[in-house]
């Protein structure tokens, strides 16, 4: 049963005189507990597709069913709810709140879900421990290393127990050693049953996925199974 169903999704916009087809009538289905990698060069439409899947952006046309719910025609506030409940975002530049401690950062999404402070704290502590940062919970982002920051970001994405984990170039700002650690964590989460979607242009990163989708000019040009290279447990 698919968690994501995209049918003839398009995102067109006009820039100057030109009509840009960032995503062009694209069909895609992703199952629960799949580890999918979108790969493509810049301008291939992978970021736009990711924004649509993450409900940050709405398609110009087409139908998007997320977790058995049609989200194509939802308004801004409904999309915010979907993002909060279904999606866990991980960004290349971590995007942590600079003035909040690691713990507060992880607690943040739960505010929008209406959890009390004590509940938020308990949840956040649990997830921080899961990513191995329990002893860093009162550090500010600028007191943490890149890898630790990305772990906080992953914890923040996981704390809402989302249907999909959506990572945009998660290792783009990390050195190779830390990248390996983060990708290992993804593998672990995947092993626990988490659906993961990673967007990248690095073939090394892509090799961790069990399904690789190659994009070019807003269309899928290749979609194949992959035998993950390094399944570290």
């Amino acid at each position: 049963m698919p968690v994501i169903e995209l049918s003839s999704i398009s995102k067109h916009y006009v820039m100057g005189q030109q009509l840009i087809k960032a995503v062009d009538s694209l069909d895609l289905a992703i199952d629960y507990n799949e580890y999918v990698v979108f790969i493509g060069s810049s301008g291939s439409g992978k970021s736009t597709l990711m924004n649509i899947i993450g409900c940050l952006d709405t398609p110009t046309s087409g139908r998007y069913v997320l977790n058995q719910r049609d989200v194509s025609g939802l308004n801004e506030n409904e999309l915010a709810d979907i993002r909060n409940q279904e999606i866990g975002f991980i960004f290349q530049s971590f995007n942590l709140l600079p003035r909040a401690t690691a713990l507060k950062n992880v607690m943040q999404p739960l505010i929008y879900r209406g959890l009390s402070f004590a509940d938020r704290r308990a949840e956040a502590e649990r997830v921080l421990e899961r990513v191995g940062l329990a002893d860093r919970s009162d550090h500010l982002p600028n007191q943490l290393s890149g890898g630790q920051r990305q772990r906080v970001a992953i914890a923040r994405a996981l704390v809402t127990n989302p249907s999909i984990l959506l990572a945009d170039e998660p290792t783009g700002n990390l050195d190779s050693q830390t990248s390996v650690e983060i990708l290992a964590l993804f593998d672990e989460l995947h092993g626990d049953g988490q659906t993961i979607i990673v967007v990248t242009h690095e073939p090394d990163v892509a090799q961790h996925g069990e399904r690789i989708v190659r994009l070019k000019d807003g269309k899928i040009v290749e979609d194949h199974r992959n035998e993950p290279k390094s399944k570290t447990a």
Binding site: M1, D31, Y32, N33, N51, G54, L56, D57, N67, Q68, E76, N77, A80, D81, R83, N84, Q85, F89, F91, N95, L96, L97, P98, R99, A100, Q108, P109, L110, I111, Y112, R113, G114, L115, S116, D119, A122, E123, R126, V127, R130, R156, L158, V159, T160, N161, S163, L189, D192, G193, Q194, T195
Partner: protein
């Protein structure tokens, strides 16, 4: 959906919490976030709210001083007694421009005295030369207020002798050349501590001092002790055959219920005595102590309102300062706003956070201003000698805080709306 076996199972996180009062929850969380960001930029927040601090401080200081004055005036009039009535001449501006001055004469006084029933006491008061006159003792001279009156004035004006005695009825009956002086006059003329029996000269006429008045202090920086009281009849004879002087009549009535009646009787008598026609305006005023007090309070209230208006401009300027900084702050935090939106913040979450930040800033400024203003008022009152203690009424506190809260909301709306309307994708890309 949760029964799907391949759904991740990270235990615990509730899919949706039960919030009974979502707006209240959003408001408390917004306030928490607002306080956090104010604390994070504490110095900038302080500078931002300085306009409000100064505005509120000046409002409170000013209002508390004026209210202190008003409170004191109320106390003074209480001493006067609400059963006392003052009759004095009144010249309308129109008549004054034509050179016609209304006056009350001694005959008017006699008429009221003998033809009005229900009076407890009545006394005429006559001032020389608009009240100021030169006084001499030995080689010392000073300028003092001279008023001619009778024994009854002691009761009406609450003047009592600390040495010697006050004017008596027999002083008036026999036009004795005697005077009761205030403490300030005694000092200015270098009279002995007990001046009774000394002679002073007013306009070349010699008068014997029979009493020294108790000290009264100052009102509005004017000494109440620079006064000399002499018998009314003596005063009249000193004036010689100059033009008929204008006098005041002060009286107290026996039964307070008769107040209105007696005022009307006096008015009727005076109108006929002054040959006023049916359409002519009164050329005198019959005022009760309450009315006098009302007049004073009206003046003070007007001053309060006008000053308050001027000072609110500074609150307005403070509000604009807050809006300006809040707009900068929204731009500065564009990326944070994008992050919050990406992880599920709705418009009202962001709106409330920034609105509450402006509100909390203004209210904090208001509270600080309140404290400073209260201190300034008390300080000013204690530095000026004989000035009444500052009195801060609760409505001024409520008004100052209410107004700063209002400023916060009005000038916070625009930046908050700007923040709430940011597009999450472009804010996330914002550098």
């Amino acid at each position: 959906m949760n029964q799907n076996p391949r759904r991740p199972n990270l235990r615990g996180a509730q899919r949706l919490a039960n919030v009974r009062f979502p707006m209240w929850f959003a408001a408390t969380e917004g306030a928490r976030a607002a306080l956090g960001s104010i604390r994070a930029h504490s110095f900038r927040s302080f500078l931002t709210t300085l306009g409000i601090v100064i505005g509120v401080a000046s409002v409170i200081a000013m209002v508390s001083i004026i209210q202190g004055l008003s409170y004191m005036i109320g106390q003074q009039f209480e001493g006067l007694g609400s059963n006392s009535v003052t009759v004095q001449s009144y010249t309308s501006l129109e008549n004054a421009l034509q050179g016609r001055r209304a006056r009350l004469t001694q005959e008017d006084y006699e008429m009221i005295r003998f033809r009005v029933d229900g009076l407890e006491s009545i006394t005429p008061i006559m001032y020389i030369n608009n009240g100021q006159s030169q006084v001499r003792y030995g080689s010392q001279t000073t300028v003092s207020q001279i008023l001619g009156t009778t024994y009854a004035f002691q009761h009406v004006g609450q003047y009592f002798a600390s040495r010697g005695r006050f004017l008596s009825d027999s002083d008036n009956d026999t036009r004795r050349r005697v005077a009761v002086i205030g403490e300030r006059v005694r000092e200015d003329l270098s009279l002995p501590d007990d001046p009774v029996g000394e002679f002073i000269s007013i306009n070349g006429e010699w008068l014997k001092i029979i009493g020294l008045l108790e000290e009264k202090g100052e009102i509005f920086g004017q000494s109440q002790d620079n006064r000399i009281m002499i018998p009314f009849t003596t005063m009249a004879s000193l004036q010689g055959n100059q033009r008929e002087p204008d006098i005041q009549v002060q009286l107290t009535i026996r039964d307070l219920g008769e107040l209105e009646n007696i005022s009307q009787t006096i008015a009727r008598l005076l109108r006929s005595a002054h040959n006023l026609g049916k359409d002519d305006e009164d050329d005198f005023r019959v005022q009760t102590a309450d009315q006098l007090q009302d007049t004073f309070e009206t003046i003070l209230n007007n001053v309060t309102v006008v000053m308050g208006g001027i000072v609110s401009i500074s609150l307005l300027v403070g509000g604009i300062g807050i809006m300006n900084i809040m707009l900068v702050s929204v731009t500065e935090r564009t990326r944070e706003i994008g992050i919050c939106k990406a992880i599920g913040a709705k418009r009202h979450h962001i709106l409330l956070q920034f609105l509450l930040e402006a509100l909390v800033l203004c209210l904090l400024g208001g509270l600080v201003g309140l404290t400073i203003g209260y201190g300034l008022g008390a300080l000013a009152a204690s530095l000026i000698p004989n000035f009444p203690a500052a009195h801060t009424p609760w409505w001024a506190v409520a008004l100052a805080l209410g107004f700063s809260g209002f400023v916060g909301i009005v000038f916070g709306i625009l930046p908050a709306a700007k923040a709430a309307n940011l597009d999450p994708i472009s804010s996330l890309r914002y550098e």
